[in-house]
C-alpha cells in the first residue's frame, strides 16, 4: 500500500543484477534503521533493470510501505534511462539518487538530507563515499576481498543493528580518497530538490556506456555548479560500496583492460561536459553529528585539508574556485605575505574597522 500522503523526499535506487547487495542497500533505507524519520517523510523508488538475477518483490515489500518497486526491461547497458524513469515516479519535492544499488548508507542520511533542505531550498547534499574493506575494491584481487568475505564481515559487524559500524571496516573511495574537505569527484548518494534535477535535465542519456560510464560524476558536477547551489557534506554519514563485480570497482586480471574502460568513460565525459572535467571545487558546509566510528575519517580529512590549504596558499591559488563568491581566505593570507601581490578588487574593498 502506498501512503496517500505526499512524501517530502523521494529516493531513487537503481538496481541491476545484484539482488543481495541491493537488498542490503534498501534495508539501510528502511525503518527503524534510519533514525528520526517516519515512513510518511520519504519514499524509495526502486528501479530495477531486468536481468537473470532480479530482486524478490516479497522481500522488498517487507521493508515497508514507503518502498515502490519498478522492474523494467532495458535494452541498453546504462542506468541513465532508469534514472529518468525513476525521476518521473517521484512524488517528493526533494530527490535522493543512489545510482549504484550496491551502496548502503548510514542511519541519519535521510534525517540530515531533510534538515539541509530546510536550511536552503538550493541544498545539494553529498554523502561521502566509502568502500567496504581495507582498500578500494578495485584492488580486490590483491587484498583478497571477495563476496563471501564481505558477507561474513558484515554479519560479524552487526551493521543492521547499528549502521555506523560500517565505518569500522571501510576506506575512502578512490575518487574521494583525500577526504571530504577537498574537492570531490563524485557522489554516490546525493540529495537535492526536484526543481534542480529538472534544471539539469535529469540524467543525460548520452551516457550509454556500461554502468553509465561517468554519468555519476557528471550529475554531481552539473548540480554542484548551478550558481545558487549550497553544498552540504555529511561528515558523520557515508555510503558504503559492497563488492559486486561492478564496472570500475573490480580488479581485472589485465589492468590495461580496466584502464582502457576508464579512458573511454573519461573521453565520453569530456565530450558531454564540453571540455576538461575536474572535481567540483566548492566549499562544503558540514552538517550532522560525527559518531566515534566516523571520527578517524574526520581527523584524516582535516589533516589532509590543512595540507591542501597550505599548499594552495603558497601557490596563490583559490581554495574553492567553483565558488564564485569565495575570495576570502586565500586572498587575505596571500596579501599578508608582503611580496607585492595584488589582491583582487573584491578584497581591496574589505571593510576596515572605523576609528
Amino acid at each position: 500500500m502506498i501512503s496517500m500522503k505526499k512524501p517530502l523526499l523521494s529516493i531513487i535506487v537503481i538496481v541491476y543484477n545484484m539482488p543481495r547487495q541491493a537488498l542490503n542497500t534498501l534495508f539501510s533505507l528502511s525503518l527503524p534503521y534510519q533514525k528520526n524519520v517516519s515512513a510518511d517523510d520519504y519514499e524509495v523508488i526502486v528501479v530495477e533493470n531486468r536481468s537473470a538475477n532480479n530482486l524478490d518483490p516479497g522481500a522488498l515489500a517487507a521493508l515497508g510501505p514507503q518502498f515502490r518497486y519498478f522492474l523494467r526491461a532495458e535494452t541498453g547497458v546504462s542506468p541513465a534511462p532508469a534514472v529518468n524513469f525513476g525521476l518521473a515516479q517521484c512524488r517528493g519535492e526533494q530527490i535522493g539518487l543512489i545510482i549504484d544499488g550496491a551502496r548502503m548508507v548510514s542511519p541519519r542520511v535521510i534525517e540530515y538530507a531533510l534538515l539541509a533542505a530546510r536550511i536552503s531550498q538550493q541544498a545539494l547534499v553529498m554523502v561521502p563515499g566509502y568502500h567496504l574493506g581495507e582498500r578500494d575494491q578495485k584492488f580486490h584481487l590483491q587484498t583478497g576481498h571477495t563476496e563471501q568475505l564481505e558477507i561474513a564481515k558484515l554479519e560479524q559487524l552487526g551493521w543492521r543493528e547499528n549502521g555506523y559500524r560500517l565505518f569500522k571496516w571501510a576506506c575512502w573511495s578512490s575518487s574521494n580518497q583525500r577526504g571530504y574537505l577537498q574537492p570531490m569527484q563524485e557522489c554516490n548518494a546525493l540529495f537535492c530538490s526536484a526543481d534542480n534535477f529538472r534544471r539539469i535535465g535529469g540524467a543525460d542519456e548520452r551516457f550509454d556506456q556500461p554502468g553509465g560510464g561517468s554519468i555519476n560524476l557528471y550529475i554531481y558536477r552539473r548540480l554542484g555548479t548551478l550558481p545558487d547551489i549550497q553544498l552540504f557534506v555529511l561528515p558523520g554519514e557515508g555510503s558504503f560500496h559492497q563488492f559486486h563485480g561492478g564496472v570500475t570497482t573490480q580488479e581485472l586480471p589485465d589492468d590495461d583492460q580496466r584502464k582502457a574502460v576508464l579512458k573511454s568513460f573519461d573521453t565520453r565525459l569530456e565530450e558531454i561536459w564540453g571540455g576538461p572535467f575536474k572535481a567540483l571545487t566548492r566549499e562544503p558546509m558540514l552538517l550532522g553529528a560525527v559518531t566515534h566510528w566516523a571520527q578517524p575519517f574526520l581527523e584524516k580529512a582535516s589533516e589532509m585539508a590543512s595540507q591542501r590549504f597550505t599548499r594552495l596558499t603558497l601557490n596563490r591559488k583559490p581554495f574553492w574556485e567553483d565558488d564564485a563568491a569565495f575570495a576570502r581566505f586565500t586572498e587575505n593570507a596571500v596579501s599578508c605575505l608582503g611580496d607585492g601581490y595584488e589582491p583582487p578588487a573584491v578584497m581591496q574593498q574589505a571593510q576596515r574597522m572605523p576609528e
Binding site: R135, Y164, L286, V290, F309
Partner: protein, 368 residues
C-alpha cells in the same frame, strides 16, 4: 589508508579521564570544580518533530545581547565583529545587537556602543552588585528577535559567520540551541599566558599579524581552545560564550539564574548552557567553523593570578554546587555539527577528532 580503524580496544582499569584533568588549566583538587566529560552520551538524540510554519512572519530573526563591564577597548573590537560590516551574508535588517553595560570606572558609553550600525542599541544598567546576570536578563527582555543570543563576556570577539549561521540554525529546528566553541587569543589560555608576560600590547601585535579585521576567520591562526572547550568540539562543550536559543526557550528557562551573585556571574553561563541543552525538546547545534575569541582584559578568571584566582574560582564553584547540589558537569546531549570549515580552523577539527580517538578506549558501549 595507513590507519586501521577500531584498533583501540578498551583496556580495563585505565582512567584516561585523569590525564585529561591534569591538562586542564583549572587548578587541581579544588572542591566542587567542574568535572570533565570525555565523550557524548552514547545515545543519539531523538530530534523532536518540528511543527510546520514556525518560521513564518517577518519577525526580526536574531537579537544578540552583549555584556560590557570595564573593558571598553576590547568591547569595541567585539562590537565591530558583530557589525554587518564584518559579519558575512547578513545585513543590519537581519539582526540587532543590544549592548548592556554595568557601571564602572571605565565605561564604554552609548556613542561607542551604537556607532557600529543602526541595529545597535545601548542600555546602561544601574547595577550595584558585581554580577552581570540582572543586566543580561534585562537586556534580553528588550530583544525583538525570534532567537536570543547571549554573550556574557564583551571581551569575546567572534568570527564572521556567527550571525548567518545562527539564523540558519533556526531553520534547522524550532528548538535549536546554538553553541559556538570558545577560543583564547594567543597560543595558550590567557590565565597561563599572562604568567609569561602576555598582555594587551602583545595581543595587538597578534591581531596586526593577521591584519584583523580584514578576514575574521584568521583569528583561528593566532588562537587556542579555551578552558571549557580545550579538548575540542567532538566532546560535550562546557559552555558557549555565544549561546543562542529561541525566545520561547529563553522564557521557559527564565534566562540566567539571578542566584549567581558572584563576580562576573560565577558559573551562570555554564549553568544556562546546561539547562538549555538538557531540556528534552531542544536540539544542540554546534558551529564548528566559527568561534568566539577571548581578548585579554584582566577578567575575573582569565586575568587574575595565584591565590586570588584560586579563591575566586573556589567561590564560583561553591556557589554552583550550592545552587545545583553538586559540581558542574557538562550536558551530554550530542551536538549536530554545522558549518563550513575555514582553512585555519581545520587544525582544531583534527585536534578534536584525535583527542576523542585517544580516549576511544573509554567509550563505554556500542550505541546506535
Amino acid at each position: 589508508m595507513t590507519r586501521k580503524h577500531g584498533d583501540h580496544p578498551a583496556k580495563q582499569g585505565e582512567h584516561p579521564a585523569h590525564d585529561e584533568l591534569e591538562k586542564q588549566p583549572t587548578p587541581k583538587n579544588i572542591p566542587n570544580a567542574p568535572t570533565s566529560v570525555m565523550f557524548f552520551d552514547p545515545a543519539m538524540p531523538v530530534v523532536p518533530v518540528a511543527p510546520a510554519g514556525y518560521l513564518q512572519g517577518n519577525r526580526l530573526r536574531l537579537s544578540i545581547v552583549v555584556m560590557v563591564y570595564k573593558m571598553p577597548e576590547q568591547a569595541k573590537k567585539t562590537l565591530y565583529s558583530l557589525s554587518a560590516a564584518y559579519q558575512r551574508g547578513v545585513s543590519e535588517e537581519d539582526y540587532e545587537v543590544i549592548v548592556v553595560e554595568n557601571p564602572s570606572s571605565n565605561m564604554l558609553g552609548r556613542v561607542d556602543a551604537e556607532k557600529w550600525g543602526n541595529n545597535f542599541r545601548y542600555i546602561a544598567y544601574p547595577e550595584t552588585k558585581p554580577t552581570p546576570v540582572n543586566a543580561m536578563n534585562f537586556g534580553a527582555t528588550q530583544a525583538l528577535g525570534s532567537m536570543v543570543a547571549v554573550m556574557i563576556d564583551g571581551a569575546r570577539m567572534v568570527s564572521p559567520g556567527i550571525v548567518n549561521y545562527i539564523i540558519a540554525a533556526e531553520r534547522l529546528h524550532p528548538n535549536a540551541i546554538v553553541a559556538v566553541p570558545g577560543y583564547h587569543l594567543g597560543d595558550k589560555v590567557q590565565q597561563e599566558a599572562m604568567l609569561e608576560g602576555y598582555d594587551e600590547a602583545y595581543e595587538q601585535t597578534l591581531l596586526d599579524k593577521i591584519c584583523w579585521p580584514e578576514d575574521g576567520y584568521r583569528l583561528f591562526e593566532i588562537s587556542c581552545l579555551s578552558g571549557t572547550s580545550h579538548s575540542g568540539w567532538l566532546k560535550p562543550l562546557g559552555e558557549s560564550n555565544v549561546l543562542a536559543m529561541p525566545r520561547h526557550i529563553w522564557d521557559k528557562l527564565g534566562g540566567y539564574d539571578p542566584g549567581f551573585t558572584e563576580t562576573g556571574g560565577g558559573q551562570c553561563n555554564l549553568d544556562l548552557h546546561k539547562r538549555a541543552v538538557e531540556l528534552e525538546e531542544t536540539v544542540l547545534v554546534t558551529l564548528i567553523g566559527e568561534g568566539s575569541f577571548h581578548q585579554f582584559h584582566g577578567g575575573i578568571t582569565t586575568g587574575t593570578k595565584g591565590k586570588e584566582r584560586l579563591d575566586i574560582m573556589q567561590s564560583h564553584f561553591n556557589q554552583y554546587a550550592e545552587l545545583r547540589g553538586g559540581p558542574y558537569r557538562p550536558p551530554l546531549k550530542r551536538a549536530i555539527l554545522f558549518g563550513a570549515m575555514p582553512d585555519c580552523a581545520a587544525k582544531f577539527a583534527r585536534h578534536s577528532a584525535s583527542t576523542i580517538m585517544k580516549n576511544r578506549k573509554e567509550i563505554p558501549r556500542d550505541w546506535p
